[in-house]
Amino acid sequence: MINRLRTSFLATPYAVWILICTILPLFYILGYAITTPEGSFTLSNLTAIADPVHLSSLWLSIKVAFVTTIICLVLAYPVALILHNLKISNKGFVVFLFILPMWMNFMLRILAWQIILSNNGILNSILSAIGLPTVHILYTKAAVTLGMVYDFLPYMILPIYNALSKINDSVIEAAADLGANWWTTFTKITIPLSRDGILSGIIMVFVPALSSFVVSNLLGGGKVLLIGNVIEQEFTLARNWNLGSGLSIILMIFVLVSMSIMNRLDDSENGGMLV
């Protein structure tokens, strides 16, 4: 018998916390979003998304985030599968190896990619040493996408791996016993059973990729303007906090809509949980 009232009391400090540190700041942003710098009411900061510049950067963000998510998924699923099938005692150790890079500062790691990808960088030196033509990657959309894939790949691998490890192996054995070949088992059993992991992986990659601005600042060479960059620049460069807030509200709504579409795909019990 667990007394609901008494245990949910444990969440009280957190409820207060949410009110002060999550909801209240949102109202500040909203306040800025629906006023002019002079303080009168306006909706122009919200409708500003229809401006061609903002629309094109939002569209670019969506494209980059989408491609990033797909690449992450394609790269991560085999990794998770291999990890799952690995016949060693210490899988936890291998899994941790995917989180370990985060202990080196994020900006330094992206900076290292600059050194690797630049015109006379490490990659091109290797390419020309083995007689291949050099490539121009740094400061293009490709470089930004690569940086994002690099940054978010672990967020895709871990949830899929977790989902795979929850699958009861006997189900797969049963399928094999019933004559299903590897491919059928994979598509009919493994993938559907790991769907939760795939969905949360997609969310954990797509959402931050959509609003990211540091990667494009460092690897885009000022030529790749994502919606995150526009918002950041409204707050810093252009000093138009009202417009910046308006666009962030739009971005938030956009994220919420894509999440709810995702959640509709996910009909499992914990559908309300996003991560």
Partner: protein, 262 residues
């Protein structure tokens, strides 16, 4: 056939690890580079490591980073764990509201979270180290909650009730039945909060007070003007420390297992 598949698997894993660790190798090499420029190899040197402890500004930033990271991740773990337990036993509708709100910091662009918190803090408290700790708790609590909740959900209530039926106090039953089950979630939540806090730049940048520098904010101002090579050295040390700690826990885990098998 099996062998080919295994080799291909290992090869693939190896490539992914190469992708993830290539930049880190580059940075480690840079920490031994005897040149202030990051694009020129000026010879091998240990001097950045030797100079490290005498560089006050870096040591200062390191201290601040450690204080902020530890304080925020410990507080976030306590707050988040108790919240997760509370939410788990809540009415479904209330829980949904709480979880919705919990998602907000995860969905918001960092810059929006950072600026909105700054707007809030400047009204009530002077910006300093403390405001950064608060901000870090704000964005890392969700990670703790979402690590602990699944553990609670997979927990069978029957065990807890059985323990109570056998005369255990709720606290004792919690400690003996629930806690061991959710502990891995709490631990991974804590580690995630720790990592997020350590790696954050945007939110720190907006909520910090004058003269407060974490390694991230320090790096940002130096990123463009050329980074003090001591910072490469420090990052290498931090990274290797984390790696060694990981190895150590791994071996400890191994030997425990061996004992258990005997």
């Amino acid at each position: 056939m099996k062998k080919v598949k295994d080799t291909a698997s290992y090869l693939y894993l190896g490539l992914i690890f190469l992708f993830l660790y290539a930049p880190i190798l580059v940075l480690i090499v840079l920490s031994f580079n005897d040149s202030m420029s990051r694009t020129i190899w000026g010879g091998f040197t240990f001097k950045w490591y030797a100079n490290l402890t005498s560089n006050d500004s870096i040591m200062d930033a390191l201290g601040t980073t450690i204080r902020i990271t530890l304080a925020s991740s410990i507080l976030a773990t306590i707050l988040g764990t108790s919240a997760a337990i509370g939410i788990h036993y809540m009415k479904k509708r209330h829980a949904a509201i709480m979880l919705g709100a919990t998602n907000i910091p995860l969905l918001n662009a960092d810059i929006v979270t950072g600026i909105s918190l700054m707007l809030l803090f400047t009204r009530f408290t002077p910006l300093g180290e403390f405001s950064v700790v608060l901000a870090h708790i704000a964005f890392s609590v969700p990670y703790v909650i979402f690590n602990v909740l699944p553990r609670l959900q997979s927990l069978s209530e029957a065990c807890f009730e059985a323990a109570m039926d056998l005369g255990a106090t709720p606290w004792y039953a919690f400690y003996k039945v629930v806690w061991p089950e959710i502990f891995p979630g709490v631990l991974s939540g804590f580690l995630m909060a720790l990592t997020m806090s350590l790696d954050d730049f945007t939110i720190t940048y907006f909520t910090k007070g004058a003269g407060v520098n974490t390694l991230s904010t320090m790096l940002y101002t130096q990123l463009r003007k050329g980074i003090q090579p001591e910072l490469y050295a420090l990052s290498t040390i931090l990274f290797l420390l984390a790696f060694v700690m990981l190895l150590a826990t791994n071996f400890k885990g191994n030997s425990k297992k061996e004992v258990a098998e005997k």
